[in-house]
Amino acid sequence: MPPVTDSDTPVVEAVRSGNVRSFSLLVDRHRDRAMTLAVRLVGDRLEAEEVVQDAFLRAFRALDGFRGDSRFSTWFYRILYNACMTRLRVSPRPPMEELPADGDRLPGLSDEPGLDERLETEEMRDILLEEMGRLPAAYSTALTLLYVQELRYEEIADVLRIPLGTVKTNIFRGRDLLRRRVLERITEEAVSR
């Protein structure tokens, strides 16, 4: 498989050649995205930060074994995801919402005029963020890897070690569920005013 290169590649090579200080560039680039994913997976901010730190240390130790057949970010987020899963086994977070049964199809996208425009307003940002955190973990994780880590479907499947079809399903359903819930909240707030 040909090596995959991106802006992280020269930095990774520098670190592997002994320029350990360059690793801080990788930390600076990925820390907030990593934190966003970790908080969504682990739940608690403090624990999430510990897990992110641990993931960076693990990545540093394992960097010599990084073959370059994927992007550094894909490889690193797999380490982070595994670190989060390990943490969750030790201290599980409160039970989250279960995934809808396979047969349940979410309602189609509404075309009610005017409602979706409100999604873009500043006040809706908090609601969206909150609802994102309330999604079933499988949906939230897939959406975070798509939007925050900017991974492609195949890369998400690689990080989560799940079939590509499951990734698509989780993204589609997660997005639909998120949209429906946010629009419900908007409607409720409009009624209560």
């Binding site: 966003t36 992110v52 996208l109």
Partner: protein
């Protein structure tokens, strides 16, 4: 793709750039002529834009420094080569070997040019002792006849130089990356 309308999956994949160029072109052509699909796709794009606009969660100030300071006790992926450390190591190694040979010679364990002991199947021990006795020959000839020291010193220096030059590629690679 459905001939009449885009499926929800098609719309999601179009949004994420996951359709093939041909599928993408067909979907866009359909959306351009179908108000229903256009409305659904537009709704999806608004949600997409809203999610993308969400702020990232940030780590504590000083996070990077904490990680970098925690790297110290961790074995780095490949330590930079230290030239003088390497030379010192080689000198120490040779000195220890010579000292060991000298001690063996003084203690009388090995005689210069002595025969390897025969023995009860201890071939490796015999080989070791042969090697040691050859080394002791070297020491005694060096001490007994300084005129013969030249070739030995040259040989010793050659071995040292080869040992030191072997990792030169690492020395240069390390210096380049430190620029």
């Amino acid at each position: 793709m459905n001939e009449d309308h885009c499926t929800p999956e098609d719309l999601h994949m179009l949004l994420d750039g996951a359709l093939s160029p041909a599928e993408s072109a067909a979907a866009r052509a359909h959306i351009a002529s179908c108000p229903g699909c256009a409305s659904r796709y537009s709704a999806l794009r608004r949600l997409d834009g809203a999610i993308r606009a969400l702020p990232l969660l940030t780590v504590s100030p000083g996070f990077t420094s904490t990680v970098m300071s925690a790297l110290d006790p961790v074995m780095p992926v490949s330590r930079p080569f230290r030239f003088f450390t390497w030379v010192a190591f080689q000198v120490c190694l040779i000195s220890v070997l010579l000292f060991g040979l000298g001690v063996c010679a003084l203690a009388g364990f090995i005689t210069p040019g002595g025969e390897a002991p025969g023995g009860i199947g201890e071939t490796s021990l015999a080989m070791l002792e042969s090697a040691l006795s050859a080394g002791v020959s070297f020491i005694t000839s060096l001490l007994g006849n300084p005129a013969h020291a030249g070739p030995y010193i040259i040989t010793l220096c050659t071995v040292l130089v080869v040992l030191m030059l072997a990792p030169l590629d690492r020395i240069f690679a390390s210096k380049l990356t430190h620029r």
